[in-house]
Structures are given as structure tokens and as C-alpha cells.
């Protein structure tokens, strides 16, 4: 028998002709890549930070497909397919090394265990994975998956390529009585059938030869189609992941208002290279759409559609303004909840693109949806977005021994109340509860009072970067003068600004969300609670959870307050937006409203209390839960204060 091996191009005289389609394949492939390259080259430079975290992300998200497998069925199927094709690609390269360069690589144990057994296993895994894909797409029919011709052709062609591969293998084993055939266990199994069917050897040879060319041409066509289809994500997904912001692009880019040629994005050249590569990296998996609150509530926005529309625009009308591809209703429907970005397996960054295009509409063209326009104008004119507010910045603290900071004073703990805490009657109660907790801890609490002004977050998310920057500069100036030891805030939007986005304006303060501060106080025994016992479900605010990564602290506070915690279907990183973000807190929303969807989930847990840690979520959920017939909606500070107050009184 000699050394185990197989003859490459067995039974294919004239196989050298295959270099002709191969050459065509190369040209077609390169042309396709060039077409896409042309678009990427239009982008502006992607601001890049250190490489280390990016590479780690690449290894995890692309190498280990850690995000893909978050959906176990299709996730593991996809991972299996990726590994299978990776192995089959290596196997094909080995064949080429032997056939074209005469290297003795395809023999012996390597041939038997890798080229035969492993690759058969890979091919089989690929077939199973593809079958799962097809069943999911066409039998289970999730709405987030497209069912156009290309959506069918891609898995179907791959399936045919794999099946014909096995058929070729089996015919060869059958016709040559391959002594090592059993290692190629799938082909071997099939070859056993041919004997039963009395397939003659000459017929087997003819079928094999024809099938060989069919398999080859199909595989080449498939490869050639890659740069023209969503399959291109094979190449671009890793690049998109590598270029993605390791912090999840939670902080928006600071726009150079003085020097920017255009404020915001309206041409492809206003987007970054990463933005443009994102368009080609999209796998059309639809996960972003599945988690999008705007889409779920019937607004004209699907993050997947947005990416695909931009892709089509980039390739068909690269010189035209983006407004031709993306309508205002779509742009302004986004709540900037980041659920899409968290779900996207290839780290496509939707929100920076959306805000970039909003910037153009708002700053260059003066367009803003009503409600949001008034809120933004409110920030400009009176430093807060709440129209018709009946309070001053300090009304909420009447009767509490809290003082406004005075110039020259030292400041231990600065309570950053936020506009909601100051002007929204419901949130004022939260501010009071929090202030009382801080006082119970013996803190020397101060507030900025009239010196506090909106962080500018609603303006920035709406696209009014100019106003935002003025607010940011002013606030950083004030805070630098106050120089508080720590800032505690009850608003996740303020938290995100003060802690992260203000860094671009020279801020470097110790800022904590009240949940974090209260949790520490509970752990260190500075706060004592009475027994509780209510069934509570906690809603993760987008800007506290997905933006700031605070998930455990509020839950710990609730537990310490005697809460019996139950989780909603969507929680933690997968939390579902309350509907307030991106300026929606100030807009009129038609039915069905996002907050109703969220409230329904909350009510379904059977909890007596829905807790949250954001004044905007509080207001949205209060409306929603009431409409859904649920119980109380409270901030964690209120829940904790209710448990702490009796202790304080008891101690006198």
C-alpha cells in the first residue's frame, strides 16, 4: 500500500484548463474588491486609540465568535461553519502546495487524520450548519432575516459545493478501491452505496469527471461572488471589529466646529473609513433589528436597513448626499440606546453614524423634530430642556439642610442633581430621597444650584453639537473651579457626560452614579436598612448599563433594601430601552410607544415594584406601567430611603 496518500486531479485529464476560470475568478474578485475599496477610500481617517484592546476584541469577537454564539442555535451553527470553512480552506491550500509546487505535504498520518478525517468532519459540520440556517430562515421565518434570492443562493450554493465535494470523494474511493478510504468516512460511507446500486466503474468515472468540473466552477463562481455579496463580511468583519472603538463607541466624537468643512455627515466623505467598512462588514443577520426599540414600536427605523441603505447608496450613488438614502423620520427615530451595537456580532457602530447624520440636518440645515427643537432651545435659553417648568434649580431641596456651593468653599460631595431632578416633579422626589440618604450618611452635601446647567446630552444626541460643546465647556469650567472630591449624580445621562464625554473637554473628576455610591455605603455599614420584602424588578437604563457598564450596584442596593429581585426577559446588557433616549423624552410619540413594550415586560414579572436608576426611565415607565396595569415605579434611592428612614428615626 505504501505511504497513505491520494492522487490529486485523479480522473481529470485536462485539469490544467482550470487555470483559465481561476484567472477569470481573480480578475472578477479583484475588481469587486476594488469597487468597494473605492468607497472606503472616500472616508475620513478613523480616530484610533491603542491597538492592544482592539486586537483582544478581534480575537474574541472574530476568532472565538463570542458575540455570534450569544444566540446559541444559529450562533454555534455559524461558528461551526466558520471553523469548517477555515479548515477546508487550509485543506485546499495543502492540495495546491502538492499539486502546484510538488511539495510532499499530502501524505502519511497528516493525510489520513487531517486531509481525510478532519476535513470530512468539517464538511459534515458545514452541511449541518447550513441546514440549520435554511430551516431557520425558511421554516421558522424570523422577520429580521431577509428572504430574497441572494439570501437563499448563498447557503444553498455552499451546501451544493459541500455535497458535491463528498460525492466526488465517494466516487473516487469507489472507483479506485482506495485502501485509506475509510478515513474519509463520509465519502467512504457513500461509496458503499454505489456497490449496492451496481454503479459501473466507467459510469462512475464519467460522473466523477463531470461533477469535478461542476464542483470546481461552482466553487469559483461562489468565490468570485464574495466581493459582490454579503459574504464579503468574511473579509471585512474582522477589519470592522479591529477598527471598532474598544469602549463600544459610547462617547461620541468631538466635532471640530471651527475647522470642519461640514458640520456633521452628509456625504460619504464625511463618514470615517471605519463607518464605510462597516457597511461592507454587515452580515445581514438582523440581530440589531431584533433588539431595536424603534423598530419594535413600528418607527421607520431598522438599524440593519439603515446599514444596508447606506451600503446601497455608497455603491450606487457615491457622490450624492446621504439625505437621499436616509430620511429624517428614520434618523430621529433612534433612541441611541446602543442595543443594536451591543448585539451586532461584527461591531458595527450604528449610533455614531446616526448622530453624525443628525448633526448635519440640525446644524447645517436647521431641521429638528418638534418637541426636541423646543427642548434644545430650552437648553440654549435657560440651561435646561424642560419647557414650562414650575421650579427653580433648588426648589426640590426646600427644607433640607443642603447648601449651594459658594465660591472659595471646599466641596466634599457634590450632588449633581441634573435637570430632571431639578425640574421634573416626579424626579424631584428622587433627588430628595437621595439627598436624605446622603445626609443620613453624614455627608457634607453641596449642590451647584443656579450654577448647574444642562450637561448638553440631549442636545448632543439630537445632533446639536455646537450647543452641547458650549454647555460642556461651561460646566467643566464651573466644576474645575468647585473641584469637588467626588460628584454623585442620579442621572445616567449626566453620569456619562461628566465621567466620560467631558474628558474631551479636559474634565477629570471622580463621578459616581448614586447606585454605586449607595452600594458602597451599604457595604461599609454607613447605611443601615430595616427589613423589606417586596418583589422588585429592575430596569437597566441604557445609559447606566450599556453606556456605563453599571449593572450590579443597583441590584445590590435593591437587595440590601430587602427587595426580592426578579429579572425581566431583557435585562443587563440586553436591556430594552424605556423610549426616552436620543431626545424622545421631549417628543410626542405615536402608538405603540416604546415604554409600553418595556412596561409590559416589567408587569409580566409579577413584581410589585418596578425599580430603575434614571429619572427619564422613571417617567417613561411610570406612564407605561400605569397603562399596563402594573404597580409602583420607583427609583432605587426612593426604595432604599423608605428602608433607611425608619432606622434613622430609631437612632434618633
Amino acid at each position: 500500500m505504501g505511504i497513505p496518500h491520494r492522487v490529486v486531479y485523479w480522473n481529470v485529464p485536462g485539469h490544467a484548463w482550470m487555470y483559465l476560470p481561476l484567472a477569470i475568478l481573480f480578475v472578477v474578485f479583484l475588481y469587486g474588491v476594488w469597487r468597494r475599496w473605492r468607497v472606503w477610500a472616500m472616508g475620513r481617517r478613523t480616530p484610533l486609540g491603542p491597538l492592544g484592546p482592539r486586537v483582544r476584541r478581534l480575537l474574541s469577537h472574530a476568532g472565538l465568535q463570542s458575540r455570534v454564539v450569544r444566540r446559541p442555535l444559529q450562533g454555534y451553527a455559524h461558528a461551526a461553519l466558520a471553523v469548517a470553512f477555515g479548515l477546508l480552506f487550509i485543506g485546499t491550500c495543502v492540495v495546491a502546495l502538492k499539486a502546484d509546487f510538488g511539495l510532499p505535504v499530502m501524505q502519511g498520518a497528516f493525510y489520513l487524520w487531517f486531509e481525510s478525517a478532519t476535513l470530512d468532519a468539517a464538511g459534515l459540520a458545514g452541511i449541518i450548519a447550513l441546514a440549520i440556517f435554511l430551516v431557520r430562515r425558511y421554516a421558522m421565518r424570523p422577520s429580521a432575516l431577509g428572504r430574497e434570492l441572494a439570501d437563499f443562493l448563498v447557503p444553498f450554493t455552499l451546501l451544493i459545493i459541500l455535497i458535491t465535494g463528498f460525492l466526488l470523494q465517494s466516487l473516487r474511493i469507489y472507483a479506485t478501491h482506495d485502501p485509506w478510504g475509510a478515513y474519509s468516512f463520509v465519502g467512504y460511507g457513500l461509496s458503499a452505496l454505489y456497490g449496492d446500486w451496481h454503479l459501473s466503474i466507467p459510469a462512475a468515472l464519467v460522473i466523477h469527471r463531470s461533477l469535478w468540473w461542476f464542483h470546481l466552477l461552482l466553487a469559483f463562481s461562489f468565490l468570485g461572488a464574495i466581493p459582490y455579496s454579503k459574504l464579503f463580511h468574511l473579509f471585512m468583519a474582522p477589519v470592522a471589529i479591529l477598527l471598532s472603538d474598544p469602549d463600544g463607541a459610547t462617547s461620541l466624537e468631538k466635532l471640530d466646529l471651527e475647522h470642519a468643512e461640514r458640520l456633521g455627515a452628509n456625504l460619504l466623505s464625511d463618514l470615517t473609513v471605519k463607518d464605510l467598512i462597516d457597511l461592507d462588514a454587515c452580515t445581514e443577520c438582523g440581530r440589531c433589528e431584533e433588539v431595536c426599540p424603534a423598530f419594535a414600536s413600528g418607527k421607520p427605523l431598522s438599524p440593519k436597513r439603515l446599514i444596508l441603505d447606506l451600503r446601497e447608496h455608497a455603491h450606487l450613488r457615491p457622490q450624492e448626499p446621504l439625505t437621499a438614502a436616509i430620511k429624517d423620520e428614520t434618523l430621529f427615530a433612534c433612541t441611541t440606546c446602543r442595543a443594536c451595537m451591543e448585539a451586532c456580532p461584527v461591531d458595527i457602530e450604528h449610533v455614531p453614524k446616526i448622530v453624525g447624520m443628525r448633526r448635519f440636518r440640525v446644524m447645517e440645515e436647521g431641521e429638528l423634530p418638534s418637541g426636541l427643537a423646543e427642548a434644545v432651545q430650552g437648553i440654549e435659553e435657560r440651561g435646561h430642556p424642560f419647557r414650562g417648568a414650575q421650579s427653580s434649580r433648588t426648589s426640590w431641596m426646600e427644607g433640607l439642610p443642603i447648601r449651594e456651593w459658594q465660591p472659595g468653599e471646599a466641596c466634599e460631595t457634590l450632588l449633581w442633581v441634573g435637570c430632571a431632578g431639578a425640574f421634573d416633579p416626579r424626579a424631584q422626589k428622587v433627588a430628595r430621597a437621595l439627598a436624605q440618604l446622603l445626609l443620613a450618611m453624614g455627608e457634607d452635601v453641596k449642590v451647584l444650584g443656579r450654577r448647574e446647567s444642562c450637561t448638553g446630552d440631549p442636545a448632543r444626541r439630537a445632533g446639536q453639537e455646537y450647543l452641547y460643546q458650549m454647555q460642556a465647556e461651561e460646566n467643566v469650567k464651573t466644576l474645575t473651579e468647585v473641584a469637588p472630591k467626588r460628584i454623585v449624580t442620579m442621572c445616567p445621562h449626566c453620569l456619562h457626560q461628566l465621567r466620560d464625554e467631558y474628558r474631551a473637554f479636559g474634565a477629570d473628576f471622580l463621578v459616581v452614579h448614586h447606585s454605586e455610591y449607595l452600594q458602597t455605603a451599604l457595604v461599609t455599614g454607613r447605611l443601615k436598612t430595616a427589613a423589606g420584602g417586596r418583589r422588585i424588578t429592575y430596569h437597566d437604563p441604557c445609559y447606566l448599563g450599556r453606556y456605563e457598564g453599571v449593572f450590579a450596584a443597583p441590584r445590590e442596593v435593591l437587595k440590601a433594601a430587602g427587595g426580592d429581585l426578579v429579572e425581566m426577559a431583557h435585562h443587563g446588557r440586553d436591556s430594552f430601552c424605556c423610549g426616552a433616549g436620543g431626545g424622545w423624552a421631549f417628543r410626542e410619540e405615536g402608538a405603540p410607544r416604546v415604554n409600553r413594550l418595556r412596561a409590559k415586560e416589567a408587569v409580566e414579572t409579577g413584581a410589585e415594584v418596578v425599580a430603575t436608576g434614571c429619572p427619564f426611565c422613571l417617567s417613561m415607565l411610570t406612564d407605561g406601567v400605569k397603562a399596563e396595569g402594573g404597580g409602583e415605579v420607583e427609583d432605587i434611592a426612593e426604595i432604599l430611603w423608605a428602608q433607611v428612614a425608619p432606622e434613622v428615626t430609631a437612632q434618633g
Binding site: 446644524m363 447645517e364 431641521e367 427643537a373 435659553e381 435657560r382 440651561g383 419647557r387 417648568a389 446639536q464
Partner: protein, 255 residues
């Protein structure tokens, strides 16, 4: 067409109750000064008219530097010139205001149309535009909601009971603008705002005029609500109502 648009920035009408204490003083420093709402409407129609006539407009305000917010808005929306008639803040007698504005209008070379907001949102008197027209001896069209150029004339539209009234007027003339479907002030473009912040505001000295009206005292109205049900037969109800009204007229309400 030369357009002069008169603006006034006022203490934030959305300031919480109690934040502004009378007479005319502000209790705390966090009440903002904002462009009056009807002046916003006047500004919008001035912009539209300037665009329609491929001309421009000049914005005029009177007061101290706190008026600049109004003038900067106008500059951001395309005013070619912003003029502030320098005057200490506080209550101004409308006739004195009209006289000073007349002097200012003459100082900047006059115009074809003079556009006012229907009333300043702080004192809400609504007479300055009419007084100004009288002093200038020009026709006055109040409460305009739409203005279009037609040849050398202006088609002005006003809302009247049950419909609209349109009139074709030949400049020069004075009109005041009220809120309506097309008068919502547009958002300025940020580039223009940035440019506007660098443009100069011309300051004129206010003309010396004798006030005819002096603010002696002002009191904040106390809101009280009292309801009384008048029951009984229809005739008894009518008699009861009449008696109530009579009592109200005599005593000015109360108990």
C-alpha cells in the same frame, strides 16, 4: 426692499412663578433673558420677506446688553445689521419707546417696511407699533400672519373671525406680526450662529424724550378661585345668576 425689524428680549416667560418679583426686579439671577415670542414671529416674517425680495433686513432692539440675545438671533438668521438703542432696563412708557424707535429708525436711514411683534411678552401692552406708525405718519396693519411680495406691493394676510383677510399694501408701512401657521421662527444654522457671534452690534444713544406714563406701583395678581352652584328651576336659576352678577359688580367678587 428695506426692512426694519424691531425686537425685544424679555425675562423668560417660562420662569417659575415667584422667580420674578415686582416692581420689575428679578429675585434670583437664574431667570434667563429670551427673545419675546411675538418678536420671534416678526423675525421669521422679516426673514421670509428679505428672502422673497432678495433684500435684507436690519434688526433693532432697545435696552442694555441683555438685548443682544435677540439681535444675535437676527444676525444668525441673516440680518445685515443689528442696532441696539442703548437704554437702562426697566419699565418704559410705550409712547416714549415709540418716539425713541422713531429717532432710531431715522438714524439708520429709514425703511420701506417696519415690522413689530404684536406685543412685547413682558408688559403685553401691544400699542408701540401703532404709536410708532402714528409718529411716522404711516399706515399700520396689525396682527399680520403672512406677508408676500407682489410687484412692488405687499400682500398681507390677517386672521379674522371665520376666515382670512388679505390686503395689498404699498410701502412704506408699519405692521405687527402675530403667531400663525407660517410664523414659527426657524432654527438658525450653526455656521450662521457662529458667524453671528462675531459680528458687531451697533449701539446708538437713545433719544431724549419725556415719558408720558410713569410706573408708580405694580402688584402681582392674587389668583383665587371660588365657585357657587346656582340650583333650582330655570327661572330661579336665572334670577339667582342675575343677583350674583349684580353682587359681583358691586363688590368686585369676594364674599
Amino acid at each position: 426692499m428695506r426692512i426694519l425689524c424691531f425686537l425685544k428680549a424679555i425675562l423668560d416667560p417660562e420662569a417659575p412663578p415667584g422667580a420674578i418679583r415686582f416692581p420689575g426686579t428679578v429675585e434670583s439671577g437664574d431667570v434667563a433673558t429670551v427673545l419675546g415670542p411675538f418678536e420671534g414671529n416678526a423675525l421669521e416674517l422679516s426673514v421670509q420677506l428679505a428672502e422673497g425680495s432678495s433684500g435684507s433686513f436690519t434688526a433693532v432692539a432697545m435696552g442694555d446688553a441683555s438685548q443682544d440675545v435677540a439681535l444675535r438671533k437676527a444676525l444668525a438668521l441673516g440680518a445685515e445689521r443689528a442696532v441696539r438703542v442703548d437704554l437702562a432696563p426697566g419699565f418704559q412708557d410705550p409712547l416714549a419707546v415709540a418716539r425713541r424707535l422713531q429717532a432710531a429708525a431715522q438714524a439708520v436711514g429709514g425703511a420701506d417696511v417696519y415690522v413689530f411683534g404684536r406685543q412685547a411678552g413682558d408688559w403685553d401692552m401691544g400699542v408701540t407699533a401703532g404709536l410708532f406708525a402714528g409718529l411716522m405718519d404711516l399706515p399700520f396693519v396689525p396682527l399680520v400672519q403672512q406677508a408676500e411680495l407682489e410687484g412692488g406691493s405687499l400682500r398681507l394676510r390677517r386672521e379674522i373671525a371665520g376666515g382670512y383677510e388679505e390686503s395689498l399694501r404699498t410701502p412704506p408701512l408699519v405692521w405687527s406680526v402675530t403667531n400663525g401657521p407660517g410664523t414659527l421662527m426657524r432654527l438658525p444654522k450653526v455656521k450662521d450662529v457662529m458667524l453671528a457671534n462675531r459680528k458687531p452690534i451697533d449701539v446708538l444713544q437713545a433719544a431724549d424724550v419725556e415719558p408720558t406714563l410713569v410706573l408708580a406701583e405694580i402688584e402681582q395678581a392674587q389668583v383665587t378661585r371660588q365657585g357657587r352652584m346656582i340650583t333650582g328651576e330655570a327661572a330661579a336659576q336665572a334670577a339667582g345668576l342675575a343677583a350674583e352678577l349684580r353682587r359681583f359688580l358691586v363688590t368686585g367678587g369676594g364674599n
